[in-house]
Symmetry: C2
Subunit: 387 residues, 2 copies
């Protein structure tokens, strides 16, 4: 049996980042950049007005003749000379010869003439947004190894970026084993139960935009070995059969399929009978069939492998305050407890949702974090994995 | 001009939750339950073994004859009597007459006989998980007004729940106005810019699973009024033209389309020229065309309307520590500043990403929160909207 830290090390050592692909910015939310993104064009693309107002050619213009009116999307026809002005709207290009833009509230207009109100002093360049003042064409807008948030779509689009190079999505297969599992639509009978791990994993992975192909197999060693042998994706997840019981065929199936087992027992509660294996660049986890264990193993170990495949940083552990909870009952294994983390007046506070046994799924209804072991007896801080 | 709080009140008053729909559990992640979910069946569905082991009929069995072997998915054929035992695997149903399950590590087996190792005492019901010990058929598994997390899929599936009743998704239309906007694929020319708001909003809404229909219109009052008039969705978003300039037609278009304007200026920086309107149960926002303002208005106001449409709780404000930042420059308006919030040793800390002007989109590249106004001068706590 190995420690949790050691399993993380083995995952980090065995998992190689996948290749990259070029996709439209618009579809790239949450994806990991694998190359810096240079601006395709200056942003802003031209000097333009930040306000609705008038452009003048001098610091102290008198009454000026309005030579044209420039709306957003139009191009100025005239250069502005002393004694002249132009009506200009927000976002419209600045004509050549401009000294400054005055806000319309600061001007007096009559017929075809305009002047700044008395007492209004113009400052050179005021209310003008300069070409490239945010970013110049060719400059990096985002660095490699950043995840693209929705807000970045505006910035990238504004810089003329239409495609970005991101880590490709891993291809996953989830195989639920267990003769006790009902087939979809099969009538419930004594001794049989619905497969809850397949739908749960599909939901977890949908949350990160990864489609999950799912199979269901009876507890037959040959069928499972065939599935392992013919697997052609990036990450194979086998639910159930990872222990050492009479019907636990995952280890032998992975070995028969040419996988090398890197770990077969981890000092983790729940999650002890977790298998981790690889074959070339392909990875496999044999996950406990118990849904609570399955969920914890996904959060604590599978996510780490996925993050690495997608060139992302590993999942973040933080410390949260967990007052009034003594921690899980000890049995020598490191123990995970689902929890709800909230920010309360500047403090990150967690409330443990203890589980009675690994068949108890009720903590999964509300958890947004996993606590590892017990709060520190004096500081009450506990190591917390945010989900 | 109204205060931010007052606009929230008007949004809350005008927005009515949408109807409900029944969808498969598996597709319901992140959706809001509008009715409690009762278990369709007991969970667990039958008494079963928590371990690989042997069942015995007595507290102090001697050497017992193994009458059958029961694997997960099978049904026991025999009742167990004193002097008898059965091999049982994890998840398999308990035969009638069982006193307790003994773990296989605690038993000695030879040929067709088994006995507990000397010194092992059996306790009634040990290693047996009882039918309905987690939830009984008909009992509520989740309450109305809960959002379904991915983990809940396992619990719901285990309780035989296949469909849940959730708030229906709102139907949204986003109309980008502005003669300066390039059409898709149009060559960039002087005075024209790409439309960054449409793609950004599509990305933001995709993040909550809402598809966005997008249109682009020139600054023509009649076209916009037509779009408002014929709008048949739940929420209409108009980008640009919400101010009072010569080319700002949003207010008149909404009015011509039969909408009632509830607010047309809010004491919010950025975001002052934000229109909010409704027509029966249909809603509309006229959003500033400036992308930073557009993004802030989405986070601070549109999300609130969406949450209410979907029967969700309003967006959460928390307090985070923001040491070393004096706050935004004041101009009398309440001011939003994008920020990065992190948990550091139990403290929720924010780092402000100040914006130079509302044309500066760089804060959108990394923000996961919005700060409202300045940190308190002594506590350094600042009101924070988590994104």
């Amino acid at each position: 049996m190995i420690e949790i830290d050691e399993l993380w090390n083995r995952i980090d050592a065995a998992v190689l980042p996948l290749g990259a692909e070029e996709i439209p910015v618009f579809e790239a939310i949450g994806r990991q950049l694998v190359a810096p993104v240079p601006a395709s064009m200056d942003f802003p693309g031209f000097d333009h007005s930040a306000m609705d107002g008038y452009v003048f050619a001098e610091e102290r213009p008198g009454r000026c003749r309005i030579v044209e009116s420039i709306a957003a999307g139009e191009s100025p026809v005239h250069a502005i000379h002393p004694g002249e002005a132009a009506r200009i709207l927000t976002g419209a290009p600045i004509p050549s010869g401009t000294f400054a833009v005055a806000m319309q509230e600061d001007c007096e207009r009559s017929d075809g003439w305009v002047s700044p109100k008395s007492g209004v002093a113009l400052q050179m360049g005021s209310h003008i947004r300069r070409r490239a003042e945010i970013v110049r064409a060719g400059q990096s807008v985002m660095a490699a190894c950043e995840e693209i948030p929705a807000g970045a779509v505006a910035m990238l689009t504004a810089c003329g970026v239409e495609y970005v190079r991101v880590a490709r999505r891993p291809r996953l297969l989830h195989v639920s084993t267990g003769s006790e599992l009902l087939a979809t639509g099969e009538e419930s009978t004594q001794g049989k139960i619905p497969d809850s791990n397949g739908p749960m994993m599909a939901a977890l992975l949908a949350g990160r935009g990864i489609p999950l192909v799912r199979h269901r197999l009876m507890d037959e060693a040959a069928a499972l070995a065939g599935a392992a042998q013919h697997f052609d994706g990036d990450l194979l997840l086998i639910s159930g059969g990872s222990g050492r019981g009479d019907h636990d065929h995952t280890k032998s199936a992975l070995e028969a399929g040419g996988f090398t087992i890197h770990s077969e027992r981890v000092n983790s509660r729940p999650g002890k009978p977790l298998l981790f294996a690889s074959r070339g660049r392909q990875l496999a986890f044999g996950l406990p069939g118990n849904p609570l264990s399955h969920w914890v193993c996904y959060q604590a170990f599978v996510r780490r492998a996925l993050d690495r495949l997608e060139s992302k940083n590993p999942p973040i552990f933080v410390e949260t305050y967990c007052p009034g909870w003594p921690g899980p009952e000890g049995d020598g294994r490191q123990t995970w407890t689902p929890a709800v983390v909230k920010i309360v007046v500047g403090r990150a506070e967690s409330v443990a949702l203890p589980w009675r046994h690994s068949g108890d799924l009720s903590p999964l209804l509300g958890a947004n974090a996993l606590l590892l072991d017990s709060p520190h007896p004096t500081s009450q801080l506990v190591r917390t994995l945010l989900l």
